[in-house]
């Protein structure tokens, strides 16, 4: 492979290697599915608890802390297996770190200010941001649609009575995380098989 080669084959080689680098980014969809299902369960439980005046349902949200701890282990294990780091994956990582910090701070501020009615609409606005950005970075239409749906649902949720806002969160996580997560999973399985 040391000998020089012609200009046409140089261009072909550059193109093929750039494509190989581009294809090295793969997403299994595990975290999208996991978070989607957990938030769906929490929101739906919260909805029924509010409907039947059961006061201790808030504890269901502790599930998110368990998932967050699992995610740390999952990501550290995945990072050890990674043989190459793409710029897209780096950008996406910081987008989601930014999301987690903003979400935590927003919820804290809203609880501190006793603005409980605004929590769900703000959560929906926040969900839309990383979903939309990730979709545009990796050109994945389902995530872009998911991000826009979160923002639309946040507007819808402020028009609804308080207890129905959690149903908007259920719908948002199905569109923004569960469906894209499943599509990622299918794509990942196909890539692994080929």
């Amino acid at each position: 492979m040391e000998q020089p080669f012609n200009e046409q084959s140089s261009l072909q080689l550059i193109e093929s290697m750039i494509n190989k680098a581009k294809n090295s980014f793969s997403e299994s969809g595990t975290l999208y599915l996991l978070w989607g299902v957990v938030i769906f369960i929490c929101s739906l439980t919260q909805f029924f608890a509010d409907r039947f005046n059961y006061e201790n349902a808030n504890y269901i949200w502790l599930l998110t802390w368990i998932v967050a701890i699992y995610q740390v282990f999952y990501l550290s294990r995945r990072s050890k297996k990674e043989k190459a780091k793409t710029y897209a994956a780096e950008m996406i990582k910081y987008v989601w770190i930014c999301f987690a910090c903003c979400l935590f701070l927003c919820i804290y501020v809203l609880i501190y200010k006793k603005a409980y009615d605004s929590i769900m609409p703000v959560i929906l606005v926040m969900y839309g941001m990383p979903t939309f950005l990730t979709g545009t970075i990796i050109k994945f239409r389902s995530l872009i649609v998911g991000g826009i749906s979160c923002w639309t649902l946040s507007i819808v949720s402020i028009l609804l009575p308080n207890q129905y806002q959690t149903l908007c969160v259920c719908a948002a996580v199905v569109i923004a995380w569960i469906i894209p997560g499943y599509l990622f999973h299918l794509k990942y399985k196909t890539e692994q098989a080929s």
Partner: protein, 97 residues
């Protein structure tokens, strides 16, 4: 039209393959590059050293889970050389058309 000379360091199949791969990545393991270029470990190692000597790539050797790991990443000089190489190729292709 002026004909630009092709960089002899990059105008070699394996070295160009390595640089073209690294241009799209933040960093990559030696084994990843070997897998994508279908090169032998020995040959790849020699070519990586040549790219490193030219300051086109940065090579970091470390340990991961008690196993040695060689990470490669392209340097700003390498990016510049790659861009100039592509421009030179394009000018050459225009002349030969």
């Amino acid at each position: 039209m002026e004909f630009k000379e092709l960089d002899p360091i990059l105008h070699s199949q394996l070295r160009l393959a390595v640089i073209s791969l690294l241009i799209g990545l933040k960093e990559a393991e030696f084994t990843f590059i070997k897998e994508k270029t279908n090169a032998t470990a020995g040959n790849l190692s020699v070519q990586i050293n040549k790219l490193k000597d030219a300051d086109y790539i940065e090579v970091t050797k470390q340990f991961k889970d008690n196993y040695p790991q060689t990470m490669c990443r392209i340097t700003p000089k390498g990016i510049d050389a790659f861009e100039k190489y592509v421009q030179a190729l394009q000018s050459y292709m225009n002349i030969t058309k």
